[in-house]
């Protein structure tokens, strides 16, 4: 069932364009025929059940996986054939970002700055500013191996923002963050979009998606089954607009999830 418009036209001003993207792992189709474009300054959220293909999609977009079919353009550059130029324009924070344990937070950011060719003057301003913005100043001189999960997530975000990318890809960005840090992140993301940056995030937290995202795409079994603004999705699913839990209900309807029905769970557990 498709709600809202799925296959947008592909405006030339789009920051991120997925054209016929598909990925197959040893005869198993993980992502199937994805066509999607993200506009500049848009905060796009990708939601879906576990194993739907969200992380695979993001990994293809940042060049960590090669698509089996199609191509992905980042600011007009193909991530596969023109990868260096494309990666210059994107930042990426993976889920549970593994970082170099034996580097300090400061050294991690210096590495990110070196890899992106940030000038000395610019990093002199930017590194302290990013550390301060994410409350990592005190821990900057400690080895990453002493960081908590949330601190690592924040450090990875700092590194991703070091070169002021046009597009930011975030995979489950709020996992591991305390409420204050999660709020800081939301404010930061909205500010980034307001200043023309594009954010593409995947999340299980539907409240994040409903509050933060300009548009939401629902992924299920490797396919983008619905796309639109949150009110559009809620209306189309008949859940009511702006009602608490409306997006969740819409999500359940679209993905065929079991909504409000727990007897199956009780009988499974007592078997």
């Amino acid at each position: 069932m498709i709600i809202g418009s799925v296959a947008d036209d592909l405006p030339t001003s789009s920051t991120v364009v997925f054209e016929g993207i598909g990925k197959t792992f040893e005869d198993q189709v993980v992502v199937e025929q994805l066509d999607l474009s993200i506009r500049p300054g848009e905060l796009f959220g990708l939601i879906g059940p576990n194993g739907a293909g969200k992380t695979t999609t993001i990994k293809m977009a940042v060049g960590l996986l090669r698509p089996s079919t199609g191509r992905i353009l980042i600011c007009g550059h193909d991530i596969q054939s023109d990868g260096t130029a494309a990666r210059r324009r994107l930042g990426y924070v993976p889920d549970s970002a593994p970082l170099y344990e034996k580097l300090t937070g400061l050294e991690m950011l210096e590495l990110a700055a070196d890899l992106h060719g940030i000038s000395r003057e610019r990093r002199r301003r930017r590194i302290p500013a990013l550390l301060e913005a994410l409350d990592l100043e005190a821990a900057a001189g400690q080895l990453v191996q002493s960081y908590s999960r949330g601190m690592r997530q924040k450090l990875a975000l700092c590194a991703a923002l070091m070169h002021d990318p046009a597009v930011l890809f975030l995979d489950e960005p709020t996992v591991g963050l305390d409420p204050q840090a999660a709020r800081q992140l939301k404010v930061m993301l909205r500010t980034l979009c307001a200043t023309g940056h594009t954010v593409f995030l995947s999340t299980h937290a539907l409240d994040i998606a409903s509050v933060l995202c300009d548009r939401v795409g629902i992924f299920n079994e490797g396919r983008l089954v619905a796309i639109g603004t949150v009110p559009e999705l809620e209306r189309a699913a008949g859940s009511g607009t702006g009602v608490p839990g409306a997006l969740e209900s819409a999500f359940m309807k679209v993905t065929g999830g079991r909504d409000q029905e727990t007897s199956w769970l009780i009988s499974a557990l007592s078997a």
Binding site: P94, E107, Y147
Partner: protein, 531 residues
């Protein structure tokens, strides 16, 4: 226990059979290659054993006693790091400790895995020797006897190491224990080698690693379990099965008791030690941000250097073989590298070939794991605007620098000791640099073709079979360089400008071809790698 073993087997099988066509091919090909090596090596071993004529029980017992002591010491050293990795750093530890499985069962399972691994490696490496001995001495019963005796003997240091590690970690965080153990093992290894070489040479024995002493027969105390193992094997060779079986039984009982005792004692200490090992160590580094800008390639080299020097265990793993070669080349009153055998050749011939082998270990320690050492952090570099070519060359820089530097220092020190002229030293240094650069490229390229990124311990960034494969390939590369060099030198009856120029050219050619092939293959894989 059966459930754990089944899960372990399935996990291992899946990682080899269901992780892509390449892995499947390697899984099928490895046993075939192994069997071919066995088939080829066994007759060679038989021939060597017949020539050595070790049938005289005195020499055989002495040799086996020494070998058992070395095996026990080696197993003790490696078991410490295995125990640390398996009990505190493996990814499944947290999950297993949360299940109703008792800590003792968990430790027994890990010990069994280690023993099984030891059997596999031991069979692969020592199988031809045992087979050859069984044929030479007409004693087929030697094969099962050797298996039981060696397993029973070596499980004792494994169990003791496990107990020691668990007891230590109860008091000191596991990462500190790991670092301290690595440093200790390294220092002990170099110290033992140094004493052994100096003592052997001082007594007029054959230079190098105690071969002279061994040949004369070491008589270890009878009460040592390693001596029982040696005596049991000697009795098997002589088909004296009753004493052999008695000693084997004693060995078996000792092995079982040691295992049971270690597991029994370590079980209650495990959880507390594991909680302690989870404590983060927030070592504060010097905060002195210079905000210097480096090109991406140099930034990667600097990052790799920082990671290496902050991990004592990795450093020791790298320095230990170089240290052993240094002891061998520079031991007091040592004839160095037996220059008498190389009278026809220039004075630098012996030091150069030996230093090249030292570089082989350095290249294996750094180059082979250069890409693999990135581990799960590889996304940081793969998502940066750095081409695969730049990435590979940046990974080559550190191994090339270290291997070249270390081997040059060794060779020049050895040449100074034997009074080589400065001109000859300069020429041999050039040759060595060319050879070692090729070796470093070979190791880095191969390491990029089959990187292992799913490790939990950075020292496991290279699989054991990959390490063995590289040692074979690297040794073959050095051999080809040496043969090419030798032929070039033999063209003229005396070393001359022509022969040396030819030597440099041939070495350069071999190094160039090997480098290009390995780096191209590595680059192709890096550019197409999925993470």
């Amino acid at each position: 226990m059966i459930g754990l073993a089944t899960a372990g087997f399935r996990s291992s099988w899946n990682s080899r059979w269901r992780s892509g066509a390449g892995r499947r091919l390697a899984t099928m090909g490895a046993p075939v290659v192994g069997i071919l090596i066995w088939v080829g090596a066994t007759p060679v071993v038989e021939h060597l054993l017949r020539r050595a004529d070790l049938g005289r029980s005195g020499h055989l017992l002495g040799l086996l006693s020494a070998l058992m002591v070395v095996l026990v010491a080696f197993t003790l050293g490696t078991s410490v790091s295995f125990a640390l990795a398996a009990v505190y750093f493996a990814r499944d530890v947290e999950w297993l400790l949360l299940t109703p499985i008792s800590p003792r069962l968990f430790l027994t399972y890990r010990l069994s895995c280690q023993l099984l691994l030891g059997i596999c490696v031991g069979t692969a490496v020592g199988g031809p020797v045992v087979l050859g001995a069984a044929v030479v001495y007409g004693s087929p019963g030697l094969i099962p006897m050797a298996l039981v005796v060696l397993c029973s003997l070596l499980v004792v240091p494994m169990a003791l190491a496990l107990l020691a590690v668990v007891a230590l970690v109860r008091l000191v965080p596991a990462s500190r224990v790991k670092d301290a153990a690595a440093i200790l093992v390294g220092l002990v290894g170099i110290g033992v080698a140094a004493v052994d070489i100096v003592a052997t040479v001082g007594s007029g024995g054959i230079s190098g690693f105690g071969i002279g002493n061994v040949a004369q027969g070491i008589h270890t105390p009878v009460w040592l379990p390693s001596t029982w193992a040696a005596m049991s094997l000697v009795d098997s060779v002589r088909s004296q099965w009753e004493p052999a079986a008695f000693l084997m039984l004693a060995q078996l009982v000792l092995g079982v008791c040691a295992t049971a005792g270690a597991v029994w004692l370590a079980g209650p200490m495990l959880r507390e030690g594991w909680f302690r090992s989870q404590m983060a160590i927030g070592r504060r580094q010097r905060q002195n941000p210079r905000f210097m800008r480096l090109p991406p390639a140099l930034a990667v080299v600097r990052k790799d250097w920082r990671m290496l020097r902050r991990d004592p265990a990795q450093l020791i793993q790298l320095l230990l073989p170089i240290g052993l070669f240094a002891v061998y080349l520079l031991a007091p009153r040592s004839r160095g590298v037996g220059l008498g055998a190389f009278q026809r050749f220039p004075i630098w011939y012996g030091p150069l070939t030996t230093s090249a082998f030292a570089a082989l270990f350095a290249a294996s320690g750094l180059g082979l794991r250069a890409v693999g050492s990135e581990g799960r952090q590889f996304w940081c570099l793969k998502t940066a605007p750095v081409s695969a070519r730049t990435l590979l060359l940046s990974k080559l820089a550190l191994p090339a620098l270290v291997a070249t530097g270390a081997s040059l220092v060794l060779m020049i020190s050895a040449e100074i000791r034997v009074g080589a002229p400065v001109g000859q030293m300069a020429f041999s240094a050039t040759l060595l640099v060319v050879c070692v650069l090729g070796l470093s490229s070979l190791s880095t390229g191969l390491g990029a073709v089959w990187p292992r990124l799913d490790w939990t311990d950075p020292r496991r960034a290279v699989g054991i079979w990959m390490a063995i494969l590289f040692m074979v390939v690297g040794a073959a590369y050095i051999a080809v360089c040496v043969v090419a060099l030798t032929l070039a030198l033999l063209i003229t009856s005396q070393p001359s400008f022509l022969s040396e120029a030819l030597a440099l050219l041939t070495c350069g050619l071999v190094a160039g071809v090997a480098s290009l092939a390995a780096l191209r293959a590595g680059h192709r894989n890096l550019a197409r790698m999925d993470l």
